[in-house]
Amino acid sequence: MRKLYSYKDLEVSVADETEVTFSVELISDGNIISTTVNIPQLPPEEDPVIEDAGSAPIGKGKDLRGDTTVVFSDIINLIPQEDTIEIHYKVNGQLVVAHKNPKSEEVRPLVLLLIKFTAS
C-alpha cells in the first residue's frame, strides 16, 4: 500500500490583494509528479494541475480565506541512482513544505497539504 504523507495545519500569510502562486520544485532527480491544487471556489475540473515542476496562480489572498486549500501530489521515482525523494512546495517563493522520504520507505509516495491562507 502506498504511503500517504500528510502535512496539516499549514498557515501562510498573504495580503488581500496579493496574487498567490503555488509552486512545486524538484530537488531529487527523476521524479514524475502530478500535483492538483483544490481551490474550493472553483469547480473541480478547473483546479490547477502542475506536472513535475512549475507554478500555478491560485487566486488573490482575500479569495482564499476561510476554506482550507488542499494540495495533493502523486509522486513516483524509478531511477536507481536516487535513494531519496525530495520535493519542495512553495507559496509565492516561500517554502511551505520540504517533503523528503527515503525510497526504501516508499517509491510512490502520496503527499497531502492542507493550507490556510491568513491575512498578513
Partner: protein, 439 residues
Amino acid sequence: MKTTIPILICLLAIPLTYSQEKLAPLKTPTSPASSVLGLQPTAVLAPKSYDALETALYSNFIGDNGINVPDDFALEFTPYWTKDHGLTVYDYLYAKNLGEQLKRNTSFSVATTQSLVLNDSVNTSAIALGVRTSFYFPNKSDRQAIDDRLRQLRSNQRTISAIGAQLGQYALVDSSFEDFWAHIAPDIELFLKREYPNLTEEETNQFLKNLFEKGKEMGYNSADNDAFMAAFINNIDEKLSGDQLYTEFQEYVKNRYGLTVDIAYANLISFPTNDFEYSILPKQSLWITPAYKFKDGFNFLKVLAVFRYEWYDTDYYARFFENTRFYRNNVDYGLSAIGEFNKFLVQLELIGRSSSSEIPSGTDAQNNPLFRKVSASDFQYIATFSYNLTEQINLSYSLGNRFEPIANDQNTLVSLLGLNFGFGAPSKKDLGLVQFSGE
C-alpha cells in the same frame, strides 16, 4: 513429479560439471577494478557522497601502522550522483549530449587484495584501479516506448491527484461515509471520463460500485481521516493498475531499445614484496561493448559485441608465474545474441582471441636488439539454455568450447549445469550496489 525432474537432472549432470570454472560473462564488468584483479567481492561499497567516500577509504586503508591494503575490498564511486540536480524524468532519460552522458555515467572503481599468490607460494598485496562509462543512443522506438508509458502513468497520476485533492476537502467536513460518497462520486466519474475516454458507461459504473462497496468497509472517520484517505486512494490506484504501470516503466528503463556502448579500463598494481616502495604495473585491460536491443518483431532479441584488450607485462609473469604462459597483447572480439521467449532464454556466444608477444632474439651486427614475434589464436563458442521453472528456480545449461585456460590448457570443454534458487535476493542497495549498472 515436478520436483523429481530437476533433481534427476542435477544428479546426472554431476560428472559433467565437476571441477569446471565459472564462465566469465561477455560484457563490460560493473566493477572493472574487481575484474582485472580477478576478485569476486562479497560486497561492493558504493558511497553516495564525498564524505562517505572519505570514510570508506580512511577506515579501510588507514591502520595502526599507517597505510595498508585491505583484503577483499571493492569500491565503486560515481561523482555525478553525489548531488541532487532536480532532473525531470525526461532530463534523466535523454541527456543533452555525449558530454553530459560522460559526466553522469562515469564511475571509478578500486579493488584490493592481500592474496595475489606469486610463484604458487607467496601471498602479496595488489590494488586495481578502474574507470567505466556508458553511452546510450536513443532511437524513435525508444522515444515511442517512453512516451507511451509516460502517457499512461501521467493519466493515472492526474486522476489520483485530482481525486486526492477533492478527497482531502470532503474528508474535512463530511461526517459520514454516505455524505462523503455523495460529494466525491460525481468528481471521480468526471476525472475518469476526462482521463480515460474509452471507458464505457457500464465500466465506469462498475468502477464506482466497487469503490463504494470497498470504501464503506474502510471505517470512515472524519476526525482522523489519514488512514481512510490512504486506503481509499490506494484502492483507486490498484483499480487503475498504478503499480503495474510503474513496474513496467521501471523494467523498460533498465533495458531500453537502441544502442548502448559500455567502455571500461582498469589496471593492476602489484606489490611483490608487500612494500609500498616497490610496485609493478603488470596488467591493463580495456573493454568496449556495444549492445543493441531490438523492437517489434525482434523485441525478444538483444545483440552484444565485445572488444577486450589485455596487456600483460610478460617479464613480471615469467618471473612470478613460472609455469604459465602469457602473451603481451591479447585481443578478444566477438558477438553474443540473447533471445528471451517467456520463461525460456537462449544465449549464443562466439569470441575470437588473438595473442602476441615480442621475444628478444639476440642482436644484429650493430649490436641493436632483435625481437621475434610469437602469436596464437583461439576461439570460444558457448550456447546457454535457461528456463525459469518457477519464479524462484532457474535451470540453466551451457555447452561449448572455451578458450584454453592458462593453468590447464587441455581442458576446454564447457558443460555446465546450473540450478539457481532465489530466496528473496538482496537488493543492490543491500549490497551497496546503488549506482546504475545498466545490467
